[in-house]
Symmetry: C2
Subunit: 350 residues, 2 copies
DNA sequence: CTGTTAGCGCATTCAA
DNA sequence: TTGAATGCGCTAACAG
């Protein structure tokens, strides 16, 4: 049997109330008895049982972290950010990773409860109105990251504008035929792909370029699928000269495809990603950076803040993105010929 | 106020015992009343308060995961493995990441308590005898991963042998001057660096090669430090022709250094890493693979098993490693000249 | 089959 | 300044 507060009280020859007071500094205690209690605590190696404390206080001292797509590279960065600040707080972290819609529903139904967590940090998931209602009803301090809801504090990124900027970079380089490699546009977790597609379309519209449906591919998120879709696009009779990928992972897959087809990047094909994961740096991938680690840091910080001052209205915070130009984007060959006056090397794709 | 079991009981017109029975299927309930309870539960959107349940049952339904060096690439893979199996269990995950010795001590002192966690999964940390004693006393089911203790179930890797194999690969290629880029040999978290150094020494001994102290560098674990130490080694008057790195991250840093010095890898320098993180594949790094994801999977599975059958004696499980030969190791130039009969290209390092 | 009751370990009143 | 009593929400044993 683990030692309880009663054991300590008996050992120190005091009541449990006194022990509790000493442990929590909740009321003044005579220095002598205080020391007796402290030595008893030390001798018995006593640590209060959190369940008892939680039940009694109605607080869990636990933060629930909900993260989908944990298998991908990007979300881990956010978690790293979270853990970096949580280390110096005294909250426990209850981690819920989510890979399927069923899982999401179950978690969203059971986890956001008073008595279960004191606060909720939800990454990259749109909530149903039902979800939001429950969270509001139970008054669970909550912060959304990479998605937004007017009723909840949110930290997000303007996906539409960021994607538009990315595609505009391609267009300004001279590309007229830009493909988009996307997650499913009707991804049940959120409108991320759709928003980026919107930005893609807007960039085309502004440039007076047509949006060609055959240049859009959708599939589940993975590097392998990025490669597949890249292959499809690059085997088109009139293939795109540039590809905007929904994510760096997809973009890396496209790079794989290009390599297989003996296409030189960026000479024969420009590729731009999204996220700026660690691998992107290594692959010299041009990409739209969103500050993943930072989003985790700010997410918890905001959450901690919301927990402190419950009364305040939801904070809406927009995180910046940055176009990081590296080695995978360049003018298309035709343009290069005109401007630089150099003959394009023979195209070797089959 | 959140709804409690009493609310449900009142609403359904039954006692709380009946509600509890229905929820937990803990005793037969008349189908009619059962339905009444179920509808009441649904109408009130009731979910039992875990603190109450925990306190009453003396079980937390929580697994504590202790991970050091979470900022590095390798440990995340283990966590991924953990989460992949935990998804289908009904345990909560309480995550503790550890970056400093102080943190480690605090966590190891407060977390391994009955009433706090039902089980403990500890990655990559040596435990003091005090730690082990507490864990044993409190009878917390525990599994160690990447480290071992006779009193606790452990899943580990033979670092000495693996490192020896790695270095032997270099030596068999013809390298006589092999550097070792290491974490601190007296790393308080474990003997990982020391063991790999041992393997390094054994390989030398078996080959009749001297271990040159100037070829050993120690520093904190990071890619940047890998680069620094790489630079140091490569600027030596009689520089090594091959480098064995404690980790892939270090190895990547060495690759950075080589690039800076205009050294061609593997022509001018062979590099071998350890871990086989995702980036290693991308960098075409030859490395000693340990199955990180798998270690997480097996870790929880074993832990779940230990929790089920408390009585059994500790399981000791050794995970295999594999030498993965990619593009960063080759015979040294001098050897190549003799065996292949080809002139070495001019060395361009400064 | 089901309602009532006694703890689980703790913080926090209320008395003293 | 401190000890005893109450209740947090729940499960399980007990009684009906």
């Amino acid at each position: 049997m683990p030692t309880t507060i009663h054991d300590v009280a008996k050992r120190a020859g005091v009541g449990i109330g006194t022990v509790s007071s000493v442990i929590n500094n909740s009321r003044p205690v005579n220095e002598a008895t205080r020391q007796k209690v402290l030595t008893a605590v030390a001798e018995l190696d006593f640590v209060p049982n959190p369940s008892g404390r939680r039940l009694s206080m109605g607080k869990t001292h636990t933060l629930g972290i909900l993260i989908p797509f944990f298998t991908g590279s990007s979300q881990v960065e956010r978690l790293r950010g979270v853990m970096s600040v949580i280390a110096s707080s005294d909250y426990d972290i209850s981690l819920f990773t989510i890979e399927t819609v069923a899982q999401r529903n179950k978690v969203l139904q059971t986890v956001p409860r008073r008595g279960r967590v004191d606060g909720l940090l939800i990454f990259s998931m749109n909530l149903s109105e039902d979800d939001v209602r429950r969270i509001s009803q139970e008054k669970i301090p909550t912060v959304l990251v990479e998605t937004a809801h007017p009723a909840l504090s949110s930290i997000w990124v303007n996906d539409v504008a960021a994607a538009q900027t990315a595609v505009e970079h391609l267009i300004s380089l001279g590309h007229q035929k830009v493909g988009y490699i996307s997650d499913y546009l009707d991804d049940p977790f959120g409108a991320f792909s759709r928003n980026r597609y919107l930005g893609y379309c807007q960039a085309h519209e502004l440039a007076g370029l047509p949006v060609r449906p055959e240049y859009l591919r959708q599939n589940e998120h993975s590097r392998a699928n990025g490669r597949c879709m890249g292959l499809e696009l690059l085997n088109l009779p009139d293939r795109p000269t540039a590809i905007f990928a929904y994510s760096d992972e997809f973009a890396l897959g496209v790079l794989d495809a290009a390599r297989e087809l003996n296409l030189n990047v960026p000479r024969d094909l420009s590729v731009i990603g999204y996220d700026d994961i660690e691998l992107a740096h290594f692959a010299q991938l041009t990409t739209m950076r969103q500050h993943l680690f930072q989003s985790g840091v700010q997410g918890v910080e905001l959450l901690l803040d919301v927990i402190e001052n419950k009364d305040t209205s939801p904070t809406q915070l927009q995180l910046p993105t940055e176009l990081v130009i590296r080695q995978t984007t360049a003018p298309p060959q035709e343009i290069e010929k005109h401007t630089v006056g150099r003959l394009p090397s023979s195209v070797t794709y089959k």
